[in-house]
């Protein structure tokens, strides 16, 4: 599909909006629908869209496999680290109230970092699975 000018132009126009929408879903999740899972899937879908239009090697240049694999683990580790942060500051595991002097602000901070962890892991896993499947058909 590399030589389809319409697809390439439309794709180039759409992908930035998809990524911005993913960030909106992520950070607006406190007020409207959305959160880490949805934002992770949307951002992964943006990269998959890019890979379908411009080919897998181009997508691998944008999001290298090593980075994607690191994301898979980093998100889960970030989530666990937030839990231990609460533990170190004198609360229970995954206790957000102690993360700031003001308990409500602490809750905000905890939810924010947990959602970032979910976002990173989900988008990493989705991309990795897609790379795995797409990479196989290239080899056959």
């Amino acid at each position: 599909m590399k030589r389809e000018p319409v697809l390439r132009v439309v794709g180039k126009m759409l992908i930035p909006y998809m990524l911005v929408f993913a960030l909106y879903v992520q950070f607006h999740g406190d007020f409207g629908p959305g959160g880490g899972f949805q934002a992770g899937v949307i951002s992964a879908a943006a990269v998959i869209f890019y890979a379908i239009i411009f080919g897998l090697p181009a997508a691998r240049r944008v999001m290298p496999e090593a980075l994607v694999e690191a994301m898979v683990a980093a998100g889960a580790l970030l989530y666990i680290a937030v839990g231990f942060a609460g533990l170190l500051l004198g609360g229970n595991y995954l206790d957000y109230f102690v993360l700031d002097t003001d308990p409500v602000a602490g809750q905000h901070r905890g939810i924010f970092w947990v959602e970032v962890g979910v976002l990173v892991t989900v988008s990493g896993v989705m991309l990795k699975i897609f790379y795995m499947f797409a990479g196989r058909q290239r080899e056959d």
């Binding site: 629908p33 959160g35 949805q38 889960a76 939810i111 989900v122 897609f130």
Partner: protein, 168 residues
């Protein structure tokens, strides 16, 4: 409309149209969830069910061909097992409280506390996010670990295949 699509799904032998119909089914499911005021779940259904899984299934289809193989024997035993399970599930739903009954146990246990105290305690207006990330933080941690494990599993399975090919 969903019933029509499910029946079409059952009788369809071309796997490509099965995948497309399943995507349509997911979008219809998402609209049903919006009608039930579960916007967060609807968003997940539309993006995961209709988006990512359609792409992944199409990728798998490209690897294994687009026609369903003829079944080897008549599936009377699977049909009987399915019917028994469906019967048991329907029997289980008979005694459930009516839909959106305000006195159902699920609405009287912790839900009032979440709804009344949640915005004050967490400062987050969206109760779904508050419950998901804060009150039920352990569950969400578990879900994240499940997603992580799925990714690791796929990596482990497909990597080994590739190394075999190199060794030959």
């Amino acid at each position: 409309m969903m019933a029509v699509i499910v029946i079409a799904l059952i009788f369809q032998r071309n796997l490509f149209s099965v995948v497309v119909l399943a995507g349509i089914y997911s979008f219809l499911m998402a609209t049903v969830l919006v009608a039930l005021d579960a916007v967060d779940v609807a968003m997940t259904e539309a993006s995961v069910g209709a988006g990512i899984s359609t792409v992944l299934l199409l990728g798998a289809l490209h690897l294994c061909g687009g026609e369903e193989a003829k079944p080897l024997q008549r599936g009377w035993l699977p049909l009987a097992v399915t019917l028994v399970i469906v019967g048991a599930l329907v029997y289980g739903t008979l005694r459930l409280p009516a839909f959106s009954d305000p006195h159902a146990p699920i609405h009287t246990h912790v839900v009032p506390r979440y709804l009344e105290q949640g915005p004050k305690e967490t400062g987050v207006p969206n109760v779904v996010t508050a419950v998901l990330a804060s009150y039920r933080g352990y569950d969400t941690l578990g879900e994240t670990i499940v997603v992580f494990t799925a990714g690791i599993g796929v990596i482990a399975l497909l990597r080994r295949r590739r190394r075999d090919k190199d060794g030959r």
